[in-house]
């Protein structure tokens, strides 16, 4: 027993039963020797202070003999943009979390990974766990392997102790695990539990069929269209619309057939073949929204949140819009022999312009049609359509094109302020790291901004002032590493001579911030 252990033993028994033994080697022994001559109690207390401090100061950290962890391979996905991360953090606090599934979908489409701080929240997110499972990246897979509770992410075998009738979450987890192992068995499971589940559960479980959905899922989905709950019906309709060649799409085609009549451009009269009449599109609005249409997911009324945006669209036009959104947009091109651009031009100024533009935007996102995304992009970017998120469309565009577009926008010389907001958004939400070329163009624009005294007259929320801010903010984050040093050198002289303006102080902070990150 060393001196500390002896002290502890004596303290337990009490000094009235056991005397204090202060024998110790070295410098500690010398210190303790000074306590001799005191009464036993003070000897003990004094020694306790000295020895415990001596032990603390002289100790070395414990050692771990185990293996170091197997690190996750670098996430092939690129990191979540800062703005999106902020949005997610807000949603995870419970605010506007109804947007979460859509947000996650957008994130997945843009090829970005979930921020690490959100992984846990996602794994424990109750109803939304399945969504998390469906988009688990390498990082989440790695994490989930560390905790058996998250087996549903890892494709591991389903633990035996999960009973059919157990908690909701386990049901979802099980369905996902099953769906990945044996799709048909997963369907059987779904059918088995179907009658005993409530509306919320049905909706969630049904949505899981999206994992690896194929033609043989159609009968089950079709039967769900007859469900007594509207929410379940609309989930089923949405899934069927994403299933290529589904009967639902075919029914939509048949409904639209008598409503749209396209007349191609043709010679105005046989005698002068060079004068062409314009192509035209005649539209008959549907007269009613019957049971079968509703069964296929057509909503009778314009939802309250869209009423304002679709104020020029009546109820019948709204039905037509939804039908159009269920048809793969490429079909119109094939049928009428026109390119997306030509068709967009065709409906420009048309009585039902809003119906077609919005319907096509919806359809483009639903069927992920790249060609149409490219054609619709300018409309959406200029905020001319009510529906559709342009970040979703952006994700459909090939990176090279996106880059070209961004470069063009950056080189744009127009003083027209309208081009600025889209450019700012392009830079803010650019879904991948900048190429060298793009970074060079940004740098050039930055140089111009810095050289122009006007830039500094504007605050950080408008015009070129805002552009300056956005460029400064995103450069260190997005540009290739090898350009950063050069950038820092370029910014230093500029930082020294920020022209006087009400925003001078703010700007100098912004510069410092940027240079520090470079």
């Amino acid at each position: 027993m060393d001196v500390w252990e002896r002290l502890v033993a004596t303290t337990m028994l009490g000094t009235e039963r056991q005397p204090v033994d202060l024998a110790a080697d070295g410098p500690l022994g010398a210190v303790l020797a000074k306590l001799e001559g005191l009464d036993e109690e003070h000897k003990l207390l004094g020694a306790a202070a000295a020895v415990s401090l001596y032990r603390r100061v002289g100790s070395s950290p414990a050692t771990d003999a185990g293996e170091l962890p197997d690190p996750v391979q670098e996430e092939p996905l690129h990191p979540c943009p800062p703005r999106a991360r902020e949005q997610l953090a807000v949603m995870l606090t419970g605010q506007q979390n109804e947007l979460l599934p859509e947000w996650l979908d957008l994130l997945a489409q843009s090829g970005a990974s979930l921020p690490e701080e959100a992984l846990l929240a996602m794994l424990n997110l109750g109803n939304l766990r399945p969504v998390a499972a469906a988009m688990a990246g390498a990082w989440m897979q790695w994490l989930a392997r560390k905790n058996p509770d998250w087996f549903f992410i890892t494709n591991a075998d389903v633990p035996d102790d999960i009973a059919w009738e157990s908690a909701i979450l386990k049901r979802i987890a099980l369905l996902i695990a099953l769906r990945r192992q044996d799709r048909a068995q997963a369907r059987t499971f779904l059918a088995d539990v179907w009658d005993t589940t409530d509306v919320v559960m049905r909706e969630i479980l049904l949505a899981m069929l999206a994992i690896g959905m194929r033609k043989d899922d159609e009968p089950f989905l079709e039967s769900a269209l007859d469900d007594k709950w509207k929410e379940v019906r609309s989930t089923a309709a949405d899934l069927l619309a994403r299933l290529p060649h589904s009967h639902l799409i075919q029914r939509m085609r048949e409904r639209l057939e008598p409503l749209l009549a396209y007349t191609p451009a043709q010679p105005a009269c046989p005698s002068s073949p060079s004068i062409m009449s314009q192509a035209c599109l005649n539209v008959t609005l549907p007269m009613a929204c019957d049971k079968s249409m509703q069964r296929d997911g057509i909503q009778v009324k314009v939802p309250a949140n869209l009423k304002h945006h679709l104020r020029n669209t009546g109820q019948k036009a709204w039905w037509l819009l939804q039908m159009v959104s269920y048809i793969p947009p490429g079909e119109w091109c094939a049928r009428w022999g026109q390119s997306p651009d030509e068709l967009i031009k065709l409906v420009h100024g048309h009585e039902w312009q809003d119906v077609f533009q919005n319907g096509w935007v919806q359809a483009t996102m639903r069927f992920r049609d790249q060609e149409w995304a490219r054609a619709l992009w300018p409309l959406v970017l200029a905020r001319q359509t009510a529906l559709g998120s342009w970040t979703a469309l952006m994700a459909l565009l090939p990176p090279a094109e996106l880059e070209e577009m961004t470069i063009k926008a950056l080189q744009g010389r127009q003083e027209n302020q309208d081009v600025l907001p889209p450019l700012l958004d392009l830079l803010r939400f650019y879904p991948c790291p900048w190429s060298r070329q793009l970074a060079f163009v940004v740098r050039k624009r930055l140089q111009e901004l810095l050289a122009s005294p006007d830039t500094f007259k504007e605050n950080n929320r408008s015009g070129n002032g805002e552009l300056l801010d956005v460029c400064l903010y995103y450069f260190p984050i997005c540009a290739p590493v090898e350009l950063l040093h050069e950038m820092a050198t370029m910014l230093q002289p500029a930082e020294q001579q920020i022209p006087e303006s009400p925003y001078q102080e703010y700007r100098s902070k912004m510069f410092k911030k940027t240079t520090s990150r470079l």
Binding site: L53, L68, P69, E116
Partner: protein
């Protein structure tokens, strides 16, 4: 122009989750009758349940909030809502000169700041009845000395009878002694005794933990007996430990350390009937650590504008001591959101050495700030640790609930970490990840 905080940082200002939620609900244009802003302030009128709209205002240099609503939360939901709206859609605010009700407040604030600056002078100018004061001090010191003598006898009785007997004692055994120390005007000593009360029921190793505490208390009593012979910083330490408070005005009148401080971590703990918030700062040029303590009683809200994960230009005054950590903020600028880059200890062994150094100067050290350059969070036999490449480990505190989050940040790669080390356990408070710093502060419920 004042910097606008990010949404996350604004939400971090909320006194509780309820206020944060309500604030987000108010962060839309429709909720406000008027909205305006200038370079340094934002204001708005929000129709609430009262007949006249509430007047809400923010001094963006601070930030500091004021609202005419009756809520006792600070900032209230209106203040948060207004700031969130500003951060989200500054376009809906009309630029202009502040109206009278805002201008008055801002002017009042500016005045008060001037006043604070000259507080030192006025304090000196105040005539003091030196005789009466000397008498008061003498009386108190006598009280304390008598109390500590009594405590010395109590300690001796305790070790004479043995800790086995002490384990059988009820809670009141400790609490009564603590109360007697409060009566003797030695509240700091009372606190040390209250900390011991739970040790006998804290499971394996309790005897050693209790003996260590007893030893430290004894050391305090012994040193205090001959306080006059000790160097000044040590005297200051001893007096603070006993419970003599130091006048904040006096401290603030002294010279501070100006630096760009990184706000690294925050932690709220209950202590008796108080809640104590510890905020750790790290000087980016001086390399010094500082601990800011703030207290609140009952439902009172801790008004803190120190936001983890930000950088802060501030002047800080340290309490005197042999190993000064505790400090007061003398003056501060608007925090800036930037990942605080600091120079951490390269290895756990190095951190241990630094801790040992601090202990020799100040044996009563309770929490020591530790920043580690590269550690792996791991689970070993159900317990969480961090370890470094060399194989040294630090066990994580059982109070740390974000183990899985920490693991998620690491992905099995080493991470840089900031936390509090109490000699046995590390309580992580922040982690650096891919060029970002993420505070690991659990939400207080």
């Amino acid at each position: 122009m004042a910097t606008i905080l990010s949404i996350e940082q604004i939400l971090a200002l909320a006194p509780d989750t309820g206020a944060a939620k309500a604030g987000q609900g108010l962060a839309s244009k429709g909720k406000w009758v008027t909205l305006g802003r200038s370079e340094t302030a934002a204001w708005g009128e929000c129709s609430g349940s009262a007949s006249t709209p509430y007047q809400t205002q923010i001094d963006l240099n601070g930030p500091s909030f004021k609202c005419s609503c009756p809520s006792r939360k600070f900032p209230c939901k209106h203040g948060l809502g207004l700031y969130l709206l500003l951060a989200n859609q500054s376009g809906v605010f009309s630029q202009g000169e502040p109206p009278e009700w805002v201008a008055n407040w801002l002017a009042g604030r500016a005045k008060r700041e001037d006043k604070n600056a000259t507080a030192a002078e006025t304090a000196e100018a105040k005539p003091v009845d030196e005789k009466a004061q000397a008498k008061r001090i003498a009386k108190r010191e006598e009280n304390v000395s008598r109390g500590l003598e009594e405590l010395d006898r109590w300690l001796c009785d305790l070790v004479r009878g043995g800790l086995g007997a002490a384990q059988a004692q009820p809670h009141s055994f400790w609490e009564n002694t603590a109360k007697r120390m409060v009566d003797a005007q030695a509240s700091g000593v009372a606190r040390l005794i209250r900390q011991m009360a739970d040790i006998p029921s804290s499971g394996e190793g309790w005897q050693e933990r209790l003996l260590e505490r007893l030893g430290k208390l004894h050391l305090l009593l012994e040193r205090y007996k001959r306080i006059e012979a000790l160097p000044e910083p040590v005297q200051a330490d001893l007096r603070a430990l006993i419970g003599f408070t130091q006048s904040q005005e006096e401290l603030l009148a002294g010279e501070g350390v100006a630096d760009r401080w990184a706000v690294l971590g925050q932690r709220v703990e209950r202590e008796d009937r108080l809640r104590v918030q510890r905020t750790w700062l790290w000087g980016t040029t001086t390399g010094r650590s500082a601990l800011i303590l703030q207290y609140a009683a009952g439902k009172e809200v801790i008004q803190s504008l120190l936001i983890p994960g930000t950088l802060l230009d501030a002047e800080i005054v340290f309490y005197p001591g042999a190993c000064p950590l505790r400090a007061l903020v003398k003056s501060q600028q608007t925090p800036e959101s930037a990942p605080p880059a600091i120079s951490p200890y390269a290895t756990i062994a190095e951190a241990y050495k630094a801790y040992a150094g601090a202990l020799t100067k100040y044996p009563w050290l309770e929490q020591f700030p530790l920043a580690l350059a590269a550690v792996y969070p791991l689970q070993r036999d159900g317990r969480w640790i961090v370890r470094d490449e060399a194989g040294h480990l630090l066990p994580l505190s059982l109070d740390f609930k974000l183990q899985w989050e920490l693991l998620a940040f690491s992905g099995g790669h080493p991470v840089s970490l900031f936390g509090e080390w109490d000699g046995d356990h590390l309580l992580p408070l922040g982690v650096w990840t891919k060029e970002r710093f993420v505070p690991l502060t659990a939400v207080e419920d």
